[in-house]
């Protein structure tokens, strides 16, 4: 299986990859004609969450930063859109702002943590702490005094009635098809964009920093600038995911910030493997379908299963499900070849 983050990743992708991308694009465009609405809705949310997975796998796989806090930007993106759209009545520039505002926050937070040269483990724990603080803060905003403009934050219950995107040419709301195309399109664009980013100077330098930050510094690279830029970029992708979530569900809630959500993001990347971009996306789909198949289970049981999966994968499949399958597959093949 192609190792996208392999040492030779700086080589342009093979034609087979481009074919794969083209096939995805065609499938995406054609799909609404062949599928029913409920499947489209299900797939749309998978696209939205795939974006969140991509932001995490970029930050962790490429840059080597384990952040438990991508859900912070996911939540901020959703809430920013909800608050701005409900306050102003327009939807397009709130959508853009919903991506930019979390990036600004990421810039400030990232600046203090990255320029503060805080070590990797502490950084991870601090992102977890910030997630905890955000969840607690939002949950505590139930009272009527917690209002931004004329939108109540509503604490536990979240903000309902978030408007869908209004098309600029005729002011009508984006249809279910439209949301499907938007989410799928964005996911595809970001996936291709991140893969091609590996070919740029920035991408190659980031990978170099991940591989050996000290050597990069000893050659004159200020690793902090690159890490901060990557951190802000990842936050932007997560925020996009959050804004799309709000558009998809017309609803935002504190659950967007919570530990279960944060855990799911980490699990997607662990299951899918850190060495590819597509692995976590596939894992997102698998995990979502598995959850739907389980039906309505209590939140306690969801948390229980998430914990078990995390434990299982760290102990047994540290490289991730897909890379391990790939590795096992290779071993079988070579055994068969050896027998001849």
């Amino acid at each position: 299986m192609a190792r996208e983050f392999a040492a030779d990743a700086a080589i342009p992708p093979r034609w087979s990859w481009w074919l794969f991308v083209a096939a995805l694009a065609v499938t995406l465009i054609a799909m609404p004609d062949f599928t029913d609405v409920s499947l489209q809705l299900d797939l749309s949310i998978i696209f939205v969450l795939a974006l969140l997975a991509l932001s995490m796998s970029f930050l962790w796989g490429y840059v080597g930063i384990l952040s438990f806090g991508q859900t912070i930007f996911f939540g901020l993106g959703g809430y920013s859109y909800a608050i701005l759209a409900l306050n102003t009545g327009s939807t397009l520039w709130p959508f853009a702002a919903a991506i930019c505002l979390p990036m600004i926050f990421a810039g400030v937070f990232g600046y203090f943590v990255i320029y503060g040269r805080i070590n990797d483990i502490y950084l991870s724990v601090i992102t977890l702490v910030v997630t905890l603080i955000f969840e607690k803060s939002i949950r505590s905003t139930s009272g009527p005094e917690y209002v931004i403009g004329n939108v109540r934050l509503n604490g536990q219950n979240g903000i309902p009635g978030v408007p869908g995107l209004l098309l600029p040419w005729d002011g009508s709301a984006l249809s279910i098809d439209g949301v499907f195309y938007l989410a799928g399109g964005m996911a595809l664009v970001v996936y291709v964009g991140l893969r091609l980013l590996l070919l740029t100077s920035f991408g190659r330098i980031i990978v170099g920093i991940r591989e050996n930050e000290m050597r990069m510094e000893l050659m004159g690279y200020d690793s902090r600038v690159y890490k901060l830029t990557a951190f802000v970029l990842a936050a932007g992708i997560a925020a996009l995911s959050g804004a799309l979530y709000a558009v998809w569900g017309n609803f935002v809630a504190p659950e967007m910030f919570n530990l279960n959500q944060a855990a799911q993001v980490v699990i997607w990347v662990i299951v899918g493997g850190r060495s590819t971009l597509i692995g976590p996306v596939v894992a997102t789909g698998l995990v979502q379908y598995f959850s739907n198949w389980l039906g309505t289970v209590s939140i306690g049981q969801v948390t229980l299963v998430l914990g078990l999966v995390l434990l299982l994968f760290v102990l047994v499949f540290p490289r991730g499900l897909l890379p391990t399958i790939g590795w096992a597959f290779d071993k079988c093949l070579s055994k068969i070849a050896g027998r001849r």
């Binding site: 040492a7 190659r204 330098i205 000290m214 510094e217 000893l218 050659m219 004159g220 690279y221």
Partner: protein, 242 residues
């Protein structure tokens, strides 16, 4: 710019780890264009000394003057940009990337566009590493990994090159090549070499500084140092100095 002033100088440089002084009050001066050797038993403080010069380790006391400016507390990347390059005792390279990619990253540090490819071609030629370009650095032998690290340092065109045991783990033939390279490099850069291999030092030596227990014991020409009885005592039990 005062040509006679040292390009690199330390004043009372000290590094303590808990109660142990790895470097204990070192006054060191390096003239522009010099080729200096640093010798001394293991644990004498040479590698720690080097790491303070690059900013990898922060001194406990003292000053380091690079072209007259105190660089204590300056970030390693800023010191590197001022022209200090180091090949470490244990190679610090990108093991998970290919040789080619490592070289590209070294070349990209100060160049853009076509100059990068030109620099890479030049170093491949100079160090004769064309055969291993596609190999992962982590899979190379120790001697080869050192050679790659030296290549990366040279690509960055530093004014001061610090080489920490460049001949370690090398065959006689590789050692001779390294010595030749060091002499060639000296035409364009000031060099300090830490080494144990006396054959290597003999091939390149001019002034030799002897470190012992974190301090400078003796600083003299190679012949005088080798004949010095105090130095011999310090080396008793170690490789014979012939």
């Amino acid at each position: 710019m005062d040509v006679a002033a040292p390009i690199l100088e330390t004043q009372n440089l000290e590094k303590r780890f808990g109660g142990v002084a790895a470097v204990d009050g070192v006054n060191f001066a390096l003239r522009r264009g010099e080729l200096r050797c640093l010798i001394g038993p293991n644990g004498a403080g040479k590698s720690t000394f080097f790491k303070m010069l690059t900013g990898q380790v922060r001194p406990t006391h003292g000053r380091i003057l690079l072209e007259g400016d105190d660089i204590v507390g300056v970030e390693p990347y800023a010191i590197a940009r001022r022209g200090v390059g180091i090949k470490n005792q244990v190679p610090i390279v990108m093991n998970g990337l290919t040789v080619r990619e490592n070289l590209w990253l070294a070349a990209r540090a100060r160049r853009k566009g076509a100059a990068i490819a030109a620099a890479i071609d030049a170093i491949i030629e100079r160090l004769d590493i064309g055969a291993i370009l596609g190999r992962f650095v982590g899979e190379l032998a120790h001697g080869q990994r050192q050679w790659i690290e030296i290549a990366m340092v040279i690509v960055c065109e530093p004014n001061i090159v610090l080489l920490d045991e460049p001949a370690a783990g090398m065959s006689d033939e590789e050692t001779a090549r390294t010595a030749a390279l060091v002499l060639d490099l000296n035409k364009s850069a000031t060099i300090v070499v830490v080494e144990h291999d006396m054959q290597f030092i003999r091939q390149i030596a001019r002034t030799v500084t002897v470190f012992h227990q974190g301090r400078i014991l003796v600083e003299d020409t190679f012949q005088n140092v080798v004949a010095n009885p105090v130095v011999r005592d310090v080396y008793v039990g170690r490789q014979g100095v012939t």
